[in-house]
Structures are given as structure tokens and as C-alpha cells.
């Protein structure tokens, strides 16, 4: 078993080009958060997809796609949709990944878990933590 600190994203410095992977992660993470917000507001509203589609003047199929997975919604689209759901307006904030998280790694498969249980053996399994 090994313990290592959470490997955070590096803070950009100087003029070095950021990697495609780093930017991909950062953008995907933001899309996930936006999706989370959208679906959770929609769920709380009790609104139907058809009603939301009508309020926005959009096809119900489009609303269904927005609610089924994160997508790269334009800021205007996200703003309008949240307002159409419940009259809410978006607010913004910035967070920075922290480094003081702990991960515990999984042993090789030939090392049997002491209690033969996924649950009780969880301390052996690498836990993924998010900043």
C-alpha cells in the first residue's frame, strides 16, 4: 500500500503553452459542473422537459440531450436555460485545486484482501479525490 499526495494541476507560469490535455481536463470539469447545476435545478423545479422546451422555444429533443450529458453549452444558452427553469441567474466563482488530499493505492491483484470484501478492503483501494 502506498500513500501519495493528490497530484494537482500545475499553476500556469510564464508564457509556456498549456497542454491540450490540461485544457481538456479544465474545460471538461467546467462542463461537468455546469451540467450538475443544470440538472439539479431542473430536478428541483419539478418542471417537465416539454414545458422547459416551450419556455425556451426549443425542440424537446434538444432539451433531452442537454439533460442527458454534459455539453459545451454557450454561456447565453446556459443562462437562459437556468432562468427558464426557475427564474435563477448564474453566479460565478473560481476555485484552485488543493494539494493536501490523500490517495491510497490498490495492491497488485495477487495480494488478496484480508477480509475478502470490497467494502472492508476499501482501505487497500486507491481512492480518487478531487480538489
Amino acid at each position: 500500500m502506498t500513500i501519495s499526495p493528490f497530484v494537482a494541476l500545475f499553476k500556469p507560469t510564464g508564457s509556456a503553452k498549456l497542454s491540450r490535455g490540461t485544457l481538456g481536463y479544465v474545460c471538461a470539469r467546467a462542463r461537468q459542473r455546469a451540467y450538475d447545476l443544470l440538472v439539479s435545478e431542473f430536478r428541483k423545479s419539478g418542471l417537465s422537459q416539454a414545458d422547459l422546451a416551450s419556455r425556451l422555444g426549443k425542440a424537446p429533443e434538444l432539451i433531452c440531450r442537454w439533460l442527458n450529458r454534459p455539453s459545451n453549452l454557450e454561456l447565453d444558452t446556459l443562462s437562459a436555460t437556468v432562468f427558464a427553469i426557475n427564474g435563477g441567474v448564474l453566479t460565478f466563482g473560481v476555485s484552485h485545486p488543493v494539494r493536501n488530499r490523500i490517495e491510497v493505492s490498490l495492491p497488485p491483484p495477487d495480494i488478496k484482501l484480508a477480509q475478502n470484501s470490497a467494502k472492508t478492503g476499501s482501505s487497500y483501494v486507491r481512492e480518487l479525490l478531487v480538489a
Binding site: 497530484v7 503553452k17 490535455g21 481538456g24 459542473r33 430536478r43 470490497a118 467494502k119
Partner: protein
């Protein structure tokens, strides 16, 4: 959420300045709703799910295995990660592969994940619920 070392190796920053790096960054981001209790669209029927489903049960259903369906970047076929629940809201991701590599061999990929589970947890079986709410506190059935 728990992930195997094979998965941890590819979802840990830094991510490369390549299309593959971007795909692994996306992969990482798609796992985060499992950790944060975020929203997930989930399909229980392996044979009837919208293409944008984020988590879907796979055959054989009785084995209780699921595929995380990373469908971004949309310029690529995406990534699939296979695993099972060890408890409610506790998913164990064991294997992963690019969708274009899996191609027609989806069942074999599932079998690999089942074997990985056995290697780690035998004789314990994956968690089994009666409905989606037994698996996830927050989810959107599709």
C-alpha cells in the same frame, strides 16, 4: 469512487499535449461526478439507452457490471471504463479502453473487468440493488 492503478495512471495530471492527453483529461473529469455526488445520466437497459448516457449497465446484467461512457471529446469515439458498485454511491472502476480499440469486442472487455473484480475481491460479488436509487443517491434515469 475507487479506481485501479491502471486507471489512476492515465487520469493523473499532467495530461499530455496530444489528443490522447485531452481524452485522458476528459476521462478524469467524467469520473468526478462519482466522487462529488454529481449528476449522472444512467441507463439500466444495456440494449436501450440514449447515445449520451454517462453510465450504463452492461451484459450479462446478472453480473452487475457497468460502463462509464466518456463520450467527449466529440471528435473522438470516446473511452469506456468498466466496473461495479461495491456499495451504494461507491463505484469501483477497474478497466478502461478507448472505444475504437474495443470495437466489436465489447463483451470481452466486460469479461476482463469481471476477471479483475475476481482477482481483487473474490469471493465477494458486486453490490446488487433493486432499482437505480439503490445504486446512486443522485442520478438521472434515461
Amino acid at each position: 469512487m475507487y479506481v485501479s492503478p491502471e486507471i489512476m495512471a492515465v487520469i493523473t495530471p499532467p495530461f499530455a499535449d496530444t489528443v490522447d492527453g485531452e481524452r485522458m483529461g476528459e476521462f478524469r473529469a467524467w469520473l468526478e461526478p462519482f466522487i462529488l455526488g454529481g449528476e449522472l445520466s444512467v441507463a439500466e437497459n444495456p440494449d436501450n439507452k440514449p447515445p449520451e448516457t454517462m453510465l450504463a449497465r452492461v451484459h450479462p446484467v446478472e453480473k452487475e457490471f457497468w460502463a462509464i461512457r466518456v463520450t467527449d471529446p466529440d471528435t473522438t469515439p470516446g473511452v469506456r471504463s468498466f466496473g461495479a458498485f461495491s456499495a451504494k454511491d461507491e463505484f469501483v472502476a477497474l478497466t478502461w479502453e478507448k472505444r475504437e480499440v474495443i470495437d466489436e469486442n465489447f463483451d470481452e472487455e466486460v469479461e476482463t473487468a469481471i476477471e479483475a473484480w475476481t482477482a481483487y475481491f473474490d469471493p465477494e460479488n458486486p453490490y446488487q440493488g433493486n432499482n437505480l436509487n439503490d445504486y446512486l443517491t443522485i442520478c438521472r434515469a434515461v
